[in-house]
Amino acid sequence: MTNSEISSINQNGTHMSEQENAKPSSLSDVAANRAEKKVAGTAPLGTGLEARGVHAWFDKHHALEDVSLDFSAGTVTALIGPSGCGKSTFIRTLNRMHEFIPNTSMAGQVLLDGKDIYEPGIDVTKIRLQIGMVFQKPNPFPSMTIGENVLSGLKLAQLKVSNHEELLEECLTRAGLWTEVKDRLGAHAGGLSGGQQQRLCIARALAVKPKVLLMDEPCSALDPGSTLRIEETISQLSKSMTIVIVTHNMQQAARVSDYTAFFLSDGGPGQMIEMGPTNEIFSRPRDQRTENYVTGRFG
């Protein structure tokens, strides 16, 4: 890939689509296969999402220590690590959901397109509008139909959209759910299966057109079939937005991400141990602890 291609990726926040034909055999092969499509390198300052020295506390408990990570526009970054290492806490600091839990605090900066989202006076609802989130447990709104769920963001965030039907179909299609629900948009969302509910939540998050989508273990409650559908959805979405995904499934990290960051807590606050292109993290990690984790020696 040439430099001009790199810059075009970074400027547009999109990728070239390439066919993925080879059957992967190992984790690093899978990752390497993906990496060919994208470019390894440092994130350009001023675009995408950048975390600068982020700490997080719950009351007095120091949960996360000094994490700096760049998520360049149009990439998929996986956060891996054992339970309790601060991945979910970190992802929640990225769209200011962390402060929603009482008695929490944080330190550091999170820059969206170069602007600190924690700056005093910033409109936090605007931030969350640009940085969407999909949660671990599917949480469609129980009082709304499938269609209303997808479009709920318009009402919630008070956005004006001229063509509701078009947006509805677009979001559901991008979330890979359209063909399954197009005949029952007026049905209650509770009647969908867990995997469908989760894709509905993705469609709902897409309807407000976020620049960044944060996914906190989106597949942990799902069967392999639904997981596959959601992974396909992530690959589709990564063409037009920045995605950060927390996952416990290393196969999944290898399949969907361009970059991987490994988090670990040695009893104290969680730290980011190592971050790099996914194929490097899985084939030749620089840190011994990363190697131990990705090869399954612990965690």
């Binding site: 609802t125 969350r128 969407g132 709104f141 009082s143 009402k155």
Partner: protein, 347 residues
């Protein structure tokens, strides 16, 4: 091919189990007759008491061979629970029974279609009615709902969603208010408004007195149902760039809707039968008064109070019949609220 397997319920009681239960009940009945016959104990209560004790013992003996001490403990706990339930149900049934059996005698067409303008409480049954008091009660309840439901739900939202600085104080006040004797609510309105402003006793002031009693009930129930809404849903709303207000209005309240209707119903149940707060605030009137802010009015509990104080057989009969009508009015309001709630749900 049709399956030939017959569906069975291996967990259900077998014929042998049922026979054992029947035996122990029969033996206990027998024992109760025997004991009452040979001891000085007398009356229905004695039969019930002996039966229960005998049943505990006999059933335990029969069960011990099959299930051991575990079965005995299970049986004891189940029977004591059953006894507790039966006692409560008996109290409720006995109240209902006395109201229905005594009230029904005074119910006739005139009683629910006429007022007391041309009749007195001491006239023979069949003359005059309490339709004006039914209207009065409904009017008072509607006024109380108009004030206390928004106030109660907003207070609950402050306590569960905003959790502002005054939350602790307000929580304390709500708890303290729910312990206010109802006559004090009436006296408060009397002292604060009737003595100090040109306003005189009216349905409006009665509704205000009832509001004082209803707000804490609505608030506490609403608070509990709002706390049941999963935090996930709130976070989903906020994560889409909604303000807290939008999240509450479009996600939290719809999710808690049926519970909020229950809160309203419980609030109405709290105030529908109140007499004391109305004595100084509504006054009394023998005909229809549809003007909520002008002129005295009446309500079914006031009629009941006055009729019971009347003392004559006709008067007391009117009191019982009025209580029955009050029960029916409140039941009708509950059914209407539930129907509205489920209709809104389906829509």
């Amino acid at each position: 091919m049709q399956s030939t397997v017959k569906p069975i319920r291996p967990w259900a009681a077998s014929p042998r189990d049922r026979a054992l239960t029947a035996t122990s009940v029969a033996l206990s009945v027998l024992a109760s007759f025997l004991v009452v016959a040979v001891t000085p104990m007398k009356g229905k209560l004695a039969y019930a008491f002996v039966f229960f004790i005998a049943w505990l013992v006999i059933d335990s003996v029969l069960v011990i061979r099959k299930s051991g001490m575990k079965g005995v403990r299970d049986g004891l706990a189940a029977k004591i629970t059953l006894l507790g339930g039966a006692l409560v149900m008996m109290a409720v049934a006995s109240i209902l029974w006395s109201v229905i059996s005594r009230g029904i005698k005074g119910i006739n067409l005139a009683f629910v279609t006429e007022n007391m303008r041309q009749a007195s409480l001491f006239d023979p049954i069949g003359k005059g009615g309490i339709l004006h008091a039914i209207f009065g009660t409904v009017l008072l309840i509607v006024i109380a709902i108009i004030f206390s439901v928004p106030m109660g739900i907003l207070t609950a939202l402050y306590l569960t969603e905003i959790k502002g600085r005054a939350a602790g104080l307000i929580q304390f006040l709500v708890q303290a208010m729910s312990g206010v004797p109802s006559v004090v609510a009436g006296l408060f309105i009397y002292a604060a408004i009737i003595l100090n402003t040109p306003l005189r006793a009216s349905s409006f002031l009665g509704g205000l007195a009832l509001t004082i009693l209803m707000v804490p009930t609505v608030t506490r129930t609403a608070q509990e149902v709002l706390n049941l809404v999963p935090r996930d849903l709130r976070e989903a709303g906020l994560a889409m760039g909604a303000t807290q207000w939008k999240t509450v209005a479009l996600v939290v309240i719809p999710a808690a809707r049926s519970g909020l209707i229950t809160a309203t119903i419980l609030g109405v149940a709290r105030i529908a039968g109140e007499t004391a707060p109305l004595l100084f605030t509504v006054g009394t009137f023998d005909s229809y008064n549809f003007n909520p802010v002008k002129g005295e009015n009446t309500a079914i509990p006031i009629i009941v109070w006055r009729a019971l104080n009347g003392g004559s057989p006709e008067s007391v009969q009117r009191a019982w019949s009025a209580i029955l009508v009050l029960l029916i009015v409140v039941l009708a309001l509950f059914i209407a609220a539930r129907a509205l709630g489920t209709k809104a749900m389906k829509k």
